[in-house]
Symmetry: C3
Subunit: 401 residues, 3 copies
């Protein structure tokens, strides 16, 4: 027995070594990606900042895992799912850019790939715990294709003669994440998910607080991901002010509607401001951003309380992590807020473009998700235990006396 | 019932939308805050670093919450209190600067506002858990006014013909925080706080370790908050060396005085070096900073063990998080250490200025805190359950079998 | 009683104050370390990045503590050990550089010192929990001497007429850490360590996930620690791609060999890619790095499963945290991968230099560790309780009803 296992391990290890050697031969030690060698001054500074933004966005990606591990019996599985998701979506996105579009590997492309990865990590929240670990990996490949298309459309497709205003990704990232996830979920149709108890503990929820609060802090890295350095000052200002808005309004709505605060409503809804500010990031001043944050936090909290049960019942599927209430609804809020601001400043075409683009991305993401859902359904295999670390992990707990 | 709640939620949401629209109309989409557009070279680099420092200080602010959540039955409430405190103090500080002093919104001002917010978050530690959540919000408004005054005085008021030497905020931040909090606490006089058991668990204290260790790491962002880039190298060197000093001496004092380490003494006292180095940050070399850190850590640990019970008994109020032992005592240590260094280097006026300024800030903060305490007392309302998440939050724990 | 304790505390405090005053007198307030004052442009940017890298590496150092606190009854002790280790190794390293080698205190030296400190923190993982807290402090002094020698050799000693290729520290950091720790462990010979149960809980392991995932994210700060800014782009690209490789292959090996994932194998082995990429960091392109990461993750996971029990049994000592499986084995992998890449690109001397250097560092670290082990053994004193917070800390848990 032990020997056969050793044999398998050896075989796997050998196969990987072989693969490694092959890769090392085919892909020569290269001079590419060192094009920054020639940089100096402001260009070097820009490049340096891409390094920092990459780290910031990856940091946020990992925190998203902790934002989702409130179910005590399903914590480590969330972490593993996030890691496998990030790996497949990041690698696939990079491969598409380099080998399909023929782009050179740059720091900016790595920032974009980490945004693609975090978008997929948000998306899996909708059906988290209802599929097997390797399904997240497969889904990431499909997602990267969908996202590369979405990104191309948002950045290049003109509507009413103008490009979409979405520097911080309300539409491209958050709506795409929510509706891709929902598309997968609608096809998978895991009805039993409704029956599963999702008990929390003090500390599983404390991890969620930690994640939510640090995500809030790091958010400027994310919304400024594709901006030039000259826009950082305004981006950070509006991002934080919108975030302070949702910190306050989510609390007010929780207290007004439920007399007490549900931490699993509040810790998510307090991020609605930074989600919604993505589109109007550079179109408002900090006080306008505060107002948008107040609105977004209120809407998101209200959706957790009232929309979530109604919608899940209507659709017949459970949005496990309530992704739609945060990323979906605050994404729409951002798109509309940006349109309103553009209307006020006389740019009617720009405002309409944002709204139409939001609808388009809603549709594309939902369909892309549904197709991915079909793939996952075909690959489903044996039934599994949902929302459970016991299904995936070896534990070593103290036996009860 | 459910309908009336939906009505309320709708009303709240509508009110906020209205507020948002109003804000968007009155505060036009602006070109301000984009003054960095014209920057390049060293100026752009400075600007970029303010972006990073902002994030670093906000990160620390959130970690302060986790530094304070060792009471197992009162973890989430600490997080919520920190968020509401940060929101009101940051927004009010910014409003004062922009609308009262007439300053333009800049990245440097955002750094200062985040310092103001973290100062208030430290201050609430003194009375944390003894007032209602929305009191922290109200208190933040009052605090921002006091802090704006304190900041103005420290930065502009000459004593003995010289400005105060406090680049890293030993006096302006830490003493202000400790004595403002104590001022509030002295007026509130919540005697019952002494009776409350404050049981910890392994993991609630592990969160405190995490917070303390990461705060220690991020401290250079904070002490270099208002410095130019050319002082970062020395600031980071002295900050870390002082921190290493208190890591060692706090351990020694804990072991000598109590034979074992009380984690809730050590995790705080190990931060005394970085607190105390604030004032002499740029006036000593790294080895001098190590010495100051050794002294500060020893003093702070000894204060947790001996001063805290005596002082709380004397004052008749409980310093819930022991804020005074860290920020108060290490603040004084920093002010005196800086004075000693200035004396040695022949700058007697500078040394005296630091000591007199420390006394002034002590008085102003205490009085400002007391006035805020009166406001909170007037707003007190129904009695509440202290140090309790049950009072504020909806829980979803597994029923015991 | 209480008085005598107060007396001791007073004495300690006084001694430290005295030490502080002496330090302040002997080491004058200085102008040194402010040499950056004259910098501007690219040089100032380099300097600024050293500030950020310092913080990043210290952040990782603290996370290493959380990577090692999965044993529920031994969490706080790990944190304290890490802090004391970091303090003594950092301070000693700096003292050696400044007072022995006569180097000026610079930002670059601080980055190197933080690398030295994290290397020692990794090393203590081998014998963590089997010695007393102050032993970690003593060991850090010895380690800093060994490491200063190792660093000098790797950076200056030519083999086959060429310097070693190890920009990201596969050999200098990871192999040094693993074999220094093993050297200590072999001399200490704490046989009882095998008998100790090491029970985990959901949340103690969730902290490990947090640490592992964030270490993964921050790794570019570490591998780019001694690089110029122009190499950051490639360094970050290969580091992340190698990391994605080990995320995937560690999972595959865990599932193939054990049907389920052991989180204490996976959370470590997923870091093998970033460890192994240290040597070939700038010699491969991102896809080559992915291949190396795949290989390293597979090897490391297989070593946790098969090599660890066999080796520990053979050596008669327990590698408590499995340091050798991650840092030792992935270090070798990195050295050989780099050699292979150099061979392929025709640089046979360079390849041989890497392998011979790896063997040399293996030997030097092992011997240095063994000598340190002898010192610790001489200082051993009374027997202690292993892997236990109760031995070191005062607790305040709720009494069971």
């Amino acid at each position: 027995m032990a020997n056969s296992k050793k044999g398998i391990a050896l075989a796997v290890a050998l196969a990987m070594v072989l693969m490694g050697v092959l890769a090392a031969i085919f892909i020569q030690p290269l001079e590419a990606a060192t094009s920054s060698l020639a940089l100096s001054g402001d260009a070097l500074l820009e490049e340096a900042f891409k390094f920092i933004k990459s780290i910031g966005i990856w940091f946020m990606l990992m925190l998203v895992a902790f934002l989702m591990l409130f179910i005590k019996k399903f914590e480590w599985g969330v972490c593993l799912a996030v890691l496998l998701s990030a790996a497949s979506s990041f690698i696939t996105y990079m491969a598409i850019q380099e080998f399909y579009f023929g782009n050179e590997w740059t720091s900016q492309m790595m920032v974009q790939a980490s945004v693609a990865a975090i978008t997929y990590v948000i998306a899996i929240g909708v059906f988290l715990g209802t599929v097997k670990q390797w399904h997240y990996f497969i889904g990431g490949i499909a997602f990267a294709i969908v996202y590369a298309a979405v990104e191309w459309i948002v950045c290049n497709f003109e509507l009413f003669g103008t490009l979409t205003t979405d520097p911080g990704g309300s539409i491209m990232v958050h709506m795409c994440a929510a509706y891709f996830g929902l598309g997968v979920c609608l096809v998978l149709r895991v009805k039993d998910a409704f029956q599963e108890p999702m008990y929390t503990t003090t500390h599983s929820v404390s991890f969620v607080w930690l994640a939510s609060m640090l995500l809030w802090v790091l958010w400027p890295c994310f919304v400024c991901g594709s901006l030039g350095m000259e826009d950082f000052a305004l981006g950070a200002a509006t991002c934080y002010m919108a975030g302070l808005g949702s910190i306050v309004s989510a609390y007010v709505v929780c207290m007004v509607c439920q007399k007490k605060v549900n931490p699993l409503t509040y810790t998510y809804a307090m991020l609605a401001g930074p989600v919604a500010i993505g589109a109007p990031l550079l179109s408002v001043n900090p006080w306008g951003a505060l107002a948008i944050g107040l609105v977004a936090g209120a809407i998101s909290a209200a959706c957790f309380i009232y929309l979530q049960p109604w919608l899940c019942n209507k659709l017949g599927v459970l949005d496990v992590m309530g992704v739609h209430n945060l990323h979906g609804m605050a994404g729409w809020t951002g798109a509309f807020a940006c349109a309103v601001v553009l209307f006020i400043s006389g740019n009617v075409d720009g405002g309409l473009a944002d709204i139409v683009m939001a609808v388009m991305i809603f549709a594309i993401s939902l369909i892309g998700g549904a197709i991915t859902g079909v793939i996952l359904k075909l690959a489903k295999g044996k039934p599994m235990e949902m929302f459970s670390d016991d299904y995936d992990f070896i534990k070593n707990e103290e036996p009860e006396h």
